[in-house]
Amino acid sequence: MAKFEYAPAPESRAVVDIKPSYGLFINGEFTESQGGSAFKTISPATEEVLAEVTSASEADVDRAVAAARRAYNGAWGRMSGADRGKYLFRIARILQERAREFAVLESLDNGKPIKESRDVDVPLAAAHFFYHAGWADKLDYAGLGTNPRPHGVVGQVIPWNFPILMLAWKIAPALATGNTVVIKPAETTPLTALLFAEVVQQADLPPGVVNIITGAGATGQAIVDHPDIDKLAFTGSTGVGKMIARSIAGTRKKATLELGGKAANIVFDDAPLDQAVEGIVNGIFFNQGHVCCAGSRLLVQENIADDVEKRLKRRLETLRVGDPLDKNTDVGAINSKAQLQRIVDLTAAGEAEGAERWDNGCALPSKGFWFRPTVFTGVSQTHRIAQEEIFGPVLSVLTFRTPHEAVAKANNTPYGLSAGIWTEKGSRILWMADQLRAGVVWANTFNKFDPTSPFGGYKESGYGREGGRHGLAAYVTTGDSK
């Protein structure tokens, strides 16, 4: 078909040094588990086993929380904001220096294309540390209230879609505000968090300030339930978020939850169409659609629906799906077999309910977990693929006729994390942004993140904000101390 075939351009794996097995990073060093088991983490692109990691037991969680408490009561709790900032700046710089290592490891363990881990995940992770480093000694002037001070020990549970970036979103504000951390990466993507443990050592952070323990749901639950945790921060599914909210109900624990989404990307007939198509593609096919704020519902004005559909499909035919380490790969591997199965099930439901299915027909590797970029047209609000979060490279296309109808359809979901508006009319952007019940509204762009900008949801997409001054607020208490 193509005249211009791109020869393979793989990023070298030689830069990463993966150990055969990993313990738990507690109190500044890797330790053996007490009573925990081991599990394997694989590369979703090849199903190759990358390493064996530890499933932390309750006793391990207890050790980690105790280490964090000691650090909080010790050097870290007494440290000035300016000195905490120095550590954060140091971490940020080390992340930049070791950027390629992190990018390659992230793509290996997660399946995302190297161009995304290289150009988005790792630089943004470093940016979050830089940004929060600057706040560490200025919290009194951040407008958070009087006498802002840390909660104490923070438990953090992060998802598999942006492993190192979500780690940065969690750890950077926690440390900037003077808390100590027990964090658990997702069971399918623990390796960059374990590499980050090396960064913590390299930065000479006092022992126990950051504890990184691996495991699955039970380990996460042990963190949530631990009585000496003061605050929880979770990013993941709405189902698990609800469990956490139930678990901590009636306790003193504070929580921020960043959960699922079913974002509407709304394209008006006066939109810059070629850029809107790029925004649609970036909205749902970035990171294989494993994005909580993915623009998974395209709401397009009916009078341009055919044109947009034609342009979109033509564009999708140029997407390159394959080896995540190839620098020309646009769409990588689905993160896990379980996630692939969920995508397969939901897309089957879409077909069964009468939506028209199209995919770009690209060749897929024989091993690993893969799913072609897929578009459903003729979707109505009632279809499961318009209501449920698929968390995969699947776009549902719906139409609208008026701005009011667009708003009504966009808001008609239990979620409310993000939305996109495409129009050249500035006044309409402002009106729409006012009407949409979503934590983030992008205008003539999509999936843009910056540490200065707060991120978070409405309704079942969670509560609390991450990033910006608002994100700091979740990690401090204010007012007179008792």
Partner: protein, 338 residues
């Protein structure tokens, strides 16, 4: 690979424009509402897309293929007041034998010169297959009366130019007088017809550096195609910025959408500022992913360049022998005077 000459226009541009616009009389108001009805361009999104295409990594076999293709797409250009027949003959010799150490090296598509140098270039190029393109219509400013522009064009065509690179009246365009721009292009296109009924291919230089906005570039592209241009070209090379990747991307979208509308293909020529093989490969990636592989042909895509050729030759030699040679291992027929 490419057809020798363009056929004479089968319909006159005004009649076809009336047809496409659905109007009984082609007025400036009709042109304005048509051009301003095109979807806008979001600057940030457009530039992000171009930057994304620029990160494609072109290696080994595809790089070798791309370098040869890029060489074959060059309009090797000299447009100096100091040009002499000797300089032009030197450039023609370079076009005929780009790399004397490797005679399998492809030749550039054309030599691009001022109109008075056409006979010299024609004679020097002989039967090599390298075409002669002449800039015309009071290049580069275009600030002359229409009879002068037409005489300039006819002069180059009758001297044997295979291709005419005209400039549009940017002043008229920016003041909203699209009809004047349309008429000028259509009349120059008629002046490209030779006595035997064949015609020189017409490249329309929009001087995008003076149009400034991407919306203007898109409108000028559509206006140029509507008026009968065979090629849309970014720049004269005398104004900065010249050929940028985002501007070329907008033009490639225009020719792609024009084909959807009319079934006809129009060529694209970025000119000025493309000096390295790496840049040239970025443009080829953009051609492939925006307009499609049909445009990956010297008949439909050109680079207006001079120093680019030698950088491509250096890369070509490196791919052949595995090491960089150096500037003195490629011949230079257009060294700086200063």
């Amino acid at each position: 690979m490419s057809t020798p000459t363009a056929a004479a226009p089968s319909v006159d541009a005004t009649a076809r424009a009336r047809d496409l616009l659905g109007v009984s009389r082609l007025t400036n108001a009709a042109l304005t509402s048509w051009l301003h009805g095109l979807p806008g361009v979001d600057q940030v999104g457009c530039e992000a897309r171009a930057a994304g295409l620029g990160t494609r990594s072109i290696k080994t076999t595809s790089k070798a293929w791309g370098i040869d293709l890029a060489i074959s797409m060059i309009d090797l250009t000299t447009l100096e007041g100091a040009d002499t027949p000797g300089k032009v003959r030197g450039l023609c010799a370079k076009a005929i034998t780009p790399d004397p150490t490797d005679l399998a090296t492809p030749r550039p598509a054309a030599i691009c010169v001022y109109g008075d140098m056409v006979p010299t270039a024609k004679e020097a190029l002989g039967q090599s297959g390298v075409k002669v393109a002449a800039v015309a219509t009071a290049f580069p400013s275009g600030r002359a009366l229409m009879p002068v522009k037409l005489a300039d064009t006819r002069d180059a065509v009758s001297a044997g130019a295979d291709e005419i690179d005209m400039v549009i009246d940017r002043g008229a365009f920016l003041s909203g007088d699209y009809l004047t721009v349309f008429r000028e292009i259509a009349e120059v296109a008629e002046a490209c017809v030779r006595t035997d009924g064949t015609r020189a291919r017409l490249k329309v230089i929009m001087e995008t550096g003076e149009l400034v906005t991407y919306d203007n570039v898109r409108r000028a592209s559509w206006l140029s195609m509507l008026a009968g241009g065979d090629f849309i070209k970014t720049s004269t090379g005398k104004v900065s910025p010249a050929a940028t990747l985002p501007v070329t991307l907008i033009m490639l979208e225009a020719v792609r959408d024009w084909r959807d509308l009319t079934g006809e293909m129009v060529g694209v020529k970025p000119a000025g500022g493309i000096r390295t093989s790496k840049d040239a490969l970025k443009f080829l990636v953009t051609v492939s992913e925006i307009a499609g592989d049909d445009w990956l042909d010297p008949h439909w895509f050109r680079f207006g360049a001079s120093s680019l050729l030698n950088d491509l030759l250096l890369q070509r030699q490196r791919m052949a022998i595995g090491a960089y040679s150096g500037a003195d291992y490629v011949t230079d027929d257009s060294p700086s005077l200063y």
